[in-house]
């Protein structure tokens, strides 16, 4: 798992945001940007979004659907869902530890 995360390089953050955005169903590029902006406050630019999409697609974590009027939706694959769960579990551990330590200090 560590190796595959590393392969996303500087796109790993954007990749996680995209995976989280697709967790509730397929979306095309613009819908992903709007959704990610809403739930995380991060405004992804097209170059970053498609850099992350290309890497996620190559890793087999997302897959493209039929194009709708020049816009192509993407959906999470089973492997992508597994990766997202793993990453969220890791993040939860970080949040829990950080919160507990802040409360103690």
């Amino acid at each position: 798992m560590r190796t595959t995360e590393k392969s996303l390089g500087r796109f790993s953050d954007a990749g996680l945001l995209v995976l989280a955005s697709l967790a509730d169903g397929p979306k095309h590029g613009y819908a992903m940007i709007a959704d990610i902006d809403q739930f995380s406050g991060t405004n992804l630019e097209p170059g970053t979004l498609y850099g992350a999409l290309a890497r996620l697609e190559k890793s087999g974590w997302i897959e493209p659907l039929e194009s709708e009027d020049r816009r192509r939706p993407y959906r999470l694959t089973a492997v992508g869902e597994k990766v997202l769960r793993h990453q969220l579990t890791t993040l939860q551990g970080v949040v829990k530890t950080g919160t507990a330590r802040l409360a103690l200090s």
Binding site: G29, E45, P46, G51, R55, K58, R71, R72
Partner: protein, 316 residues
């Protein structure tokens, strides 16, 4: 809040940036545009385009060029990656050699200043010795690798009687031999000049030197074209690929070491004798060396990345 509500630009400015963003998509590789161009075009039509969006698209284009395997179905074979990397290294080496020729002939050579500094400091002297040793080993490794790569390709081409590979190989050998013969003739001619010490150049000397320089350039172009054909058409074994990787790394290290000594030597020289012309010439030479070094390092990264991800690489 939607992304559009943050955009403070005017309508005209937005349209101009949008058109520019669409034009920037032409910077992406063809395969990338075939796969994602239409989607990104549709996204640009909806998404507010800011100055940072344009910069982001430019960075994305650089990323797409440096990671050509990202678009599915366009992954280059490992062999092709190594071969194209080899071509990049050859071109970078030619650029570096040109910079070195410029340093030795067209620029004030910082060698004497280096010697005066290294004579006073044993630490720097040891460092210079180390750099020179690395350079020597690298030249040997590069020559060995070159002979192995060409020898292996020639052997396979001969056994299969592949004339499409053998012809450019013979062409390369001929060019190298002719160039060597001409270089020897130039050296013999130079040693036959009358006088002792610094001797005045005759017109014939200038013509011979100029012809030699032009001939060297023509030979470099011809040899590169022939080698490109040999490497693209020939088959490479994994052993050869490993050697090619080691060579690329060695060349990159030697280039970086030479660049370092040139820059430090140049600074020492300019400290002692400030001269704008020397500074400008040295800056050009250093820039050429830096470009060649970065190209070689990128070629190493490219061939290594391909190798490590390949089944043969993971079986090591």
């Amino acid at each position: 809040m939607t992304p559009t509500s943050r955009n403070p630009d005017t309508q005209v400015g937005r349209q101009r940036k949008r058109r520019l963003a669409v034009r920037l998509l032409r910077l992406y590789p063809h395969s990338w545009r075939d796969r994602y161009g239409e989607e990104v075009g549709a996204l640009i039509a909806q998404h507010p385009v800011r100055t940072r969006s344009l910069l982001n698209l430019m960075l994305g284009a650089a990323d797409a060029w440096t990671h050509p395997g990202l678009v599915r179905g366009t992954e280059q074979s490992l062999s092709l990656r190594v071969r194209t990397s080899h071509l990049v290294v050859m071109s970078a080496s030619a650029l570096f050699t040109l910079a070195l020729i410029g340093l030795l002939h067209g620029v004030h050579d910082p060698g004497p200043e280096w010697q005066s500094v290294t004579g006073r400091s044993p630490g720097i002297r040891s460092l210079v010795n180390l750099v020179e040793a690395i350079g020597g080993v690298t030249v040997l490794v590069a020559l060995f690798s070159f002979v192995v790569v060409l020898g292996s390709t020639a052997r396979q081409a001969l056994s299969a009687m592949r004339w499409d590979v053998l012809r450019p190989l013979i062409g390369f050998g001929t060019i190298v031999m002719v160039w060597l013969a001409c270089s020897v003739a130039v050296v013999v001619e130079a040693s036959s000049r009358p006088g002792i010490g610094i001797r005045p150049l005759r017109m014939i000397d200038v013509i011979v030197e100029l012809l030699w320089f032009l001939g060297t350039l023509a030979a470099a172009v011809g040899a590169t074209v022939c080698l490109r054909r040999v490497l693209i058409r020939g088959e490479l074994t994994h052993m050869v690929m490993r050697i090619a990787r080691v060579t690329t790394a060695a060349i990159a290290v030697a280039m970086a070491a030479t660049l370092l000594t040139t820059v430090v030597g140049g600074i020492l020289m300019l400290n002692q004798q400030p001269n704008l012309l020397d500074a400008g010439s040295l800056a050009v030479v250093a820039a050429m060396m830096a470009v060649a070094t970065v190209l070689t390092a990128l070629a190493f990264h490219r061939s290594t990345g391909g190798y490590l991800r390949s089944p043969a690489g993971s079986q090591r």
